[in-house]
Symmetry: C2
Amino acid sequence: MSELLTPRKRNISFTSLGKEETIPLHNFWASTGYSAGTKKLQLTRRQSGARLNENAAEGLEELDELANYEDFHTIDWLREMSRNRLRHRQITQGLRKTFLQKIRILHDACSGWLVVLLIGMAAGTCAGIIDIATKWLITLKMGVCTDKFWLDQESCCWLHEDQNSKIDNDSCAEWRSWAEILGGHRGHGASDYAVNYTAYVIIAMMFSTLAAVLVKNFAPYACGSGIPEVKTILSGFIIRGYLGKWTLLIKSVTSPLAVGSNLSLGKEGPLVHIASCCGNVFAHLFPKYGQNEAKKREVLSAAAAAGVSVAFGVPIGGVLFSLEEVSYYFPMKTLWRSFFCALTAAFVLRSVNPYGTAHFAMFYVTYNRPWLLFELVPFALLGVMGGLYGAGFVRANLFWCRFRKNSKLGKFPILEVMVITLITVLLSYPNPFTRMDASTVINELVQECGPTSHTNLCDYNVTRHYHGLNTTFVPASPSGGLGDGLKTALWQLALAFLFKCIITVFTFGMKIPTGLFIPSLAVGALMGRIVGIGVEQLVYTFPDNPMWKTDCQFSNGQSCITPGLYAMVGAAAALGGVTRMTVSLVVVMYELTGGLQYIVPLMLATMFSKWVGDALSGEGIYDGHIRLNGYPYLEQKREFTHTTLAADVMRPRPGEPPLKVIVQEGMTIYDLEELVKSNTLNGFPVLISNDSQRLMGFVCRKDLIVALENAHNKPEVTEDSPTYFTLHCPASVSELGNSNPVRLFNIVDLSPIAVSDHAPMETVVEIFAKLGNRQVLVTHNGKLLGIITKKDVLRHIAELDGEDPEKIMFD
Amino acid sequence: MSELLTPRKRNISFTSLGKEETIPLHNFWASTGYSAGTKKLQLTRRQSGARLNENAAEGLEELDELANYEDFHTIDWLREMSRNRLRHRQITQGLRKTFLQKIRILHDACSGWLVVLLIGMAAGTCAGIIDIATKWLITLKMGVCTDKFWLDQESCCWLHEDQNSKIDNDSCAEWRSWAEILGGHRGHGASDYAVNYTAYVIIAMMFSTLAAVLVKNFAPYACGSGIPEVKTILSGFIIRGYLGKWTLLIKSVTSPLAVGSNLSLGKEGPLVHIASCCGNVFAHLFPKYGQNEAKKREVLSAAAAAGVSVAFGVPIGGVLFSLEEVSYYFPMKTLWRSFFCALTAAFVLRSVNPYGTAHFAMFYVTYNRPWLLFELVPFALLGVMGGLYGAGFVRANLFWCRFRKNSKLGKFPILEVMVITLITVLLSYPNPFTRMDASTVINELVQECGPTSHTNLCDYNVTRHYHGLNTTFVPASPSGGLGDGLKTALWQLALAFLFKCIITVFTFGMKIPTGLFIPSLAVGALMGRIVGIGVEQLVYTFPDNPMWKTDCQFSNGQSCITPGLYAMVGAAAALGGVTRMTVSLVVVMYELTGGLQYIVPLMLATMFSKWVGDALSGEGIYDGHIRLNGYPYLEQKREFTHTTLAADVMRPRPGEPPLKVIVQEGMTIYDLEELVKSNTLNGFPVLISNDSQRLMGFVCRKDLIVALENAHNKPEVTEDSPTYFTLHCPASVSELGNSNPVRLFNIVDLSPIAVSDHAPMETVVEIFAKLGNRQVLVTHNGKLLGIITKKDVLRHIAELDGEDPEKIMFD
């Protein structure tokens, strides 16, 4: 490092000031503009344009070098943004530009669009490949396509459809179950069942074990859903490698394996992580984004939007998810780029066409009947149930994860995955609603019963006759007493609901990619369908109740209740209860159903779900995991309501040793080195003198270390050389006696954010949350009293909430 | 005022501190918590809980009194938010609560939802009534429903449909034109045309004149679209009466009149203003919102969303419009409430059902054909054209408005409206595309041609035969050579386009409610339809071009081009060019068309439109009008790229007299009164002493005036009484000699936001934009140097942009 940053490169010699002064780039303007007045300043800037240009490239490198943050540190948004503006200025300044410079400006202006385009395309491609792989792996547990083994069941039968080999709705002669392959004949006997069961269990075990081994050995960060971490990273935290190439690769490979093993998890959360990895990888192609942590986060916000967009095929919902749930600083100008990114991703995914339909969305549903006013009661009830489920899940899962962390269990991640998989598959095979993969189940649950419905779910005890509507493909759905099939289905639904409720608690948080969207939606859809059938039977049994009498006619076996809609509402409620999403959830569901008229039930359920959930558990699953892992995430949505003051939070606390500070004149190189060695603080305030305690500026630890290294490389500098953090310092040896002075004015931030000791903490929290600075200095009438870092604020909040601050941070 | 605020009420006697000290509520915590440490502070608070409760209600009143801002002043967001937190604390504090207190807490928690519910319902109702009135007024120019004069043409004929009196598509025997009524017979002769023409002109003139008179005499603020002003108000500016009851009433009445007079304007922009008025009116029912300018703006954001929601029937688009275009501080937690408000409004509107369809949206379009890849070229072209139009419109309109302002024209608003109306209606009657109201025209232009289409727009020279699709209501559209009707229509389209382009420039900004959405959409739709027909003919003429040969078959008179889609894309491009909306525009158009597959053309056109527009005119029409009117709006989206420092912007400038300050001890009442009288500053920094110049706090002008009035009411206070801004002051006469000291510590803000003189202005601008404070104090090593207000920043930006700052501000 010291070789890269020789003193010559670090400073720009600026002759137009009239005397030879070395001033660094990042307070270059500070010194020229000082009390100069606007007019004069512009003049100066223009004069010095040519000179600066020469050094611009060098200076940029220097700054980038300085800007690297250490792992698990928070970034300084103000500094990053100002670095970006400086970079932009260096590119665009000067009056006459060469052709090359113009190209560079154009490239700079376009690179924002280019990077989101690339990310969108990459995310879409990844999602498409993952979708196809997942489908194949899911059906591989059941059987194999005999002539083309790389096809999943649907593609296999679709390919052979024209040869009239179709047997029933979703099977064909070419698709053979494991019993058929091993036994050689097609049958439905007990032995075949046993063979298929065994194959199912063994293959699922193989998938999940492979996934766990890959994650453990190649990319430990590829586990979990990734959303809590992406959220934390976007709030300005550095976790090296979390969005790296290896994580991208391993998570992309293991997600299909995990879903294929029929564990109660989804690939939608991981897709957000994968898209963010794509974002990070492509950001590094553009120095504007790759070398600036604040700008990179703009791109990552867009990537997260693309992730949800491809997960469900909902571009607008994706952007709103990124805005509401994931992103921290979401400048409005990135909204448009995020939208572009999400749409590109959805479009690329659609070209790969994994859902096999012309629609974007994952499950596209069309309902033919409007909902009735009295149904708002069961919808609200579903909301309450969703909230209860969500709160219960969050508490149970956090308890289990804490237990895993603190017990020996955490040491055997692969074994844990194997055990959970074994339990899951053994119990899930017998029940069709758990044997199928969760997306298929959800898709089936949210559909209306129509004349072509042949599942148990639509087995009603009525003669089916449909009155003709004026369109051919819009049939009305049957209703009536429960048929035997539906009775069986109800039992299966209830068992599946219970099973999923419990197993998901143990699944989420294992050391494989575990998404939570699909399991939550599945639990909610199961719950909703049961409630829906209940309401339908209620209406059927008491047709004369005044609440629904006028709206419901049963003359031709018609019902006015759509259990599928209840499943949809229930799914929204459960997901809302678990994640506490609001607008984005409703918009996602709206995009899935494609009908504005169903937005009211969805909204009602989501509202109740959030209220009940918030009342019972206070935080969503992502925030819970952020807290569990002790990430320094300063929640913006929750208002700081306490009445403490900056003086109560700042370090040093009463009784602690005084703050480590730098005095602007007279400290020796040795003093500074001792200062750096004696602690791990991020930086040091600079005072005018120890007597006055007046604050003059702030020096970052990293800058100071680099500057000290540089000083050591100069032969004339000794340990006793005095240092000067002032603009003017004694120029030569003669004035000082025996040692050369070291000028360090260039590393001082002359305008650190400072507040009064009387400032209420609510203002300080707002400054941290909105300006994104790393620390705030506390002064009293201009005298330095202490310092507050972001982590101090988080500790303080934890303390006020009655938690032990040392225990929750990074344990 | 002085009667309301007696000294007893102003201060809370706080005995638990051990000595009799008067401490005001808003720095109450400051003084108790001062260097006390968290634990101790909590203890103190609990002890003093009972005492505080008694005074809470009084104190609240006091603070509200203090918080009134003057007209045309900016608000201090930090202070408002801290007042709100204090209010919240006062309601929720204390351990044991009475039933009444619990009710109060519940009411406080629910009031946010209640107020947006009420606003949504009110906005929906207003919009419904306005829609119905507008429809009636529009058709009243043509004729009248003979037996039920209060019905518009459509309702009239719909009501009489069953009596088989229908004549053609949209007329019936009961509906009679003015020529029929006056002449007594139904005919199409020249004299009838003349009578109808004359009636049309006279009625239109009456409408617009009435509207202008009403606006001028009863509510001058009801003119224009209102969006620039709502934007400015939401950014923290006070314009008294702008959102008042009179404005609401008059704008609601005059909007239909203005639209009814066939001027080139819409009621959609005004609806945003009307909804915001509803928001303001209902906010005053809840002290939490009505008496806190920051909280009120949260509600107004939701109201603006509801306005767009009802204007077009697009709730999600409305929320995004509010988020992207209108709102300034949009905390994420209000997103959910805005969404709720927008949805309620849309639902209420739908119950009133002004569009007569089951759909929410204003024009619901379904296209049957996908767009083809090569069409992206004409779509992009449309985007460029939209951008050109938008930039041209913005420049021309701003020029005209500036001319109106600076010339005698501005003195005759009613005459101006009459002249423009006369020109408009005289020229627009002969052309069917300008005679009809703009929404109907747009609706016709964006439709596909189908077998039931009978307009000139679908008159193609081919035998129409449609191949059967598998659904009955999805016909394919015809295409082929231009029929005579279409040729006529093309001429009419072109003339209508030119006419609308020109007349809208003169219409927008007149002293009646003038919305810009509909005229822009109309211009764009006309342009788009022309381009669409052009492309269609191109494809028809050269069917073998490889670009489209594979995708287009002409065997059965089918075309692969949908001119209606071009109209839709053109409409989006033109509106985008004028307003520079992006995401919200695409989402609105998506909600209108209801098909995700058309989002790509819309997005492409919007992108090109914005790029071209930004390159040519730099700002959208709303920002242009904000600048024209000199509102102090600090643009958040545009980054501050200059390199000036706080020292360059602060007052006093070099050569100006020194800053007016208060010294914490020793100034007399007379000194303070002279200080207040000598200037109009919003507040004064408090220094420890004139020698040290060290900053101790800040006092608001209003607080100081109230405090001085209070002091005057005390008999023992004379003009020579010394004032003390410190916590401790000499207690009695004896210590001071001949006059009583006045304690003013309670009005000092002990933690004003201060920056160093070296702070780059980019940071200062960010502090203003994000924290929303009113002023920033500038210090150098703890010494006060100057002050920067929001207006100073705006003046500075104007200066750097090469404009005369004194000319653009409030001229």
